[in-house]
Symmetry: C2
Subunit: 228 residues, 2 copies
């Protein structure tokens, strides 16, 4: 039996993605599932970060993962080896996921009964930032080799995300990357953005990130309980 | 006086970008200007590669550069210091350039009299590959930290490009990047793709790349002469 399935998702027919996203977010909140949308450039280490995070999150949470890609199932294959519930979404050339595509992915994954679903979006710093997926929490990874000037060039994604994970800190000695500068530039875009330097390769910093994510999920649950 | 200007370019009203691109390509060929479209993920080293390439190309060619970005003029500022004719194109949130935006950039740059214009596209492996800019030569950079699996995940850009520049070879010892595998995966997408391993940081491999680019421009000129 296959460890995961591959689903072809198509662009939404909903003219108003924002309304669809708000509706999905409310439904997920009602069923007690938190949705995280994880974004980055290609090769920033989304999957490797997930491989480090999943065992920490799975200590207390039932977690599912949706791997979005234009093609290939490299990532679902890798993540499924952790034992997490995983589905691969193929976007058929699309550069981002919208709320309807996310909803279809969640349906196929079977999100009922999960505390947390992490959507690994298509590797792209531009388009995914423009489309609300319905997530409760938007996170991004910027990796050291990409350079500290990225908040100047790709403003929207830094504005949208609650946290910036600075990955590949293990190679800091080999790159002209200034952590103080990237912090300053990111906060120019988004004064409240949380910043987590990590190395998904060595595991450094991942505990702190996992603890913060768990705290955000607890806050989401409180929102639900307050509303009941 | 400013060393470069910043131009706001807007998405095309042309329904048929392919026709507009073909027309632009023919006009440029007639005036003896070769257009190169350089694409990559954010932070792969497009600008640093240009800084290495420009002095080599400028030995025999009159070169202009168009720096496309969603925001900021970091790159135009950097490239203008080489003395090249440079213009910054702001896409206003757009994730790629189309042929009409490229045409407007060329007009504002003043491409008449130039042998070569290099368009540094928005950092994105997905959308720029879908839009013909009118270029005679599409090139892409994949940097070592991004990983050798990218041709599996972002097929179109590897299909479109005549050459893949593998940048940041100076950090090969610190990453699990397999040059043989990336060659194999890229050629699965595009059997004729040329592959140039370089380090824009140290300059290694850039002479061979510059020589190949000059040979391609000569071929373009021959096409023009044959048609006259």
């Amino acid at each position: 039996m296959d460890r995961y399935r591959i689903i072809e998702v198509k662009q939404s027919v909903f003219a108003d993605n924002d309304a669809e996203a708000a509706s999905l977010r409310a439904e997920l909140r009602a069923q007690g599932t938190c949705l995280i949308n994880l974004m980055s450039s290609p090769g920033s280490g989304k999957t490797t970060t997930l491989l480090r995070l999943l065992p920490l999150l799975q200590r207390t949470l039932r977690v599912g993962v949706m791997e979005a890609d234009i093609d290939s199932d490299v990532d679902a294959d890798t993540v499924s080896r952790t034992g997490a519930k995983v589905i691969q979404l193929h976007t058929g050339g699309m550069c981002h996921l919208d709320a309807a595509m996310t909803r279809e992915g969640l349906r196929q994954l079977g999100a009922q009964g999960l505390d947390l679903v992490i959507l690994e979006n298509v590797g792209n710093l531009v388009c995914p930032a423009e489309f609300d997926t319905g997530a409760h929490l938007d996170l991004m990874i910027l990796s050291v080799p990409e350079g500290h000037d990225k908040p100047l060039k790709y403003p929207l994604i830094f504005q949208r995300c609650s946290a910036m994970i600075v990955n590949k800190t293990d190679v800091l000695p080999y790159f002209d990357f200034d952590l103080d500068k990237v912090t300053q530039f990111a906060r120019q875009r988004n004064p409240g953005i949380q910043i987590f330097p990590i190395s998904a390769k060595t595991g450094e910093g991942v505990e702190a990130l996992a603890a913060w994510i768990c705290a955000q999920i607890d806050k989401e649950k409180e929102k639900k309980e307050t509303r009941l």
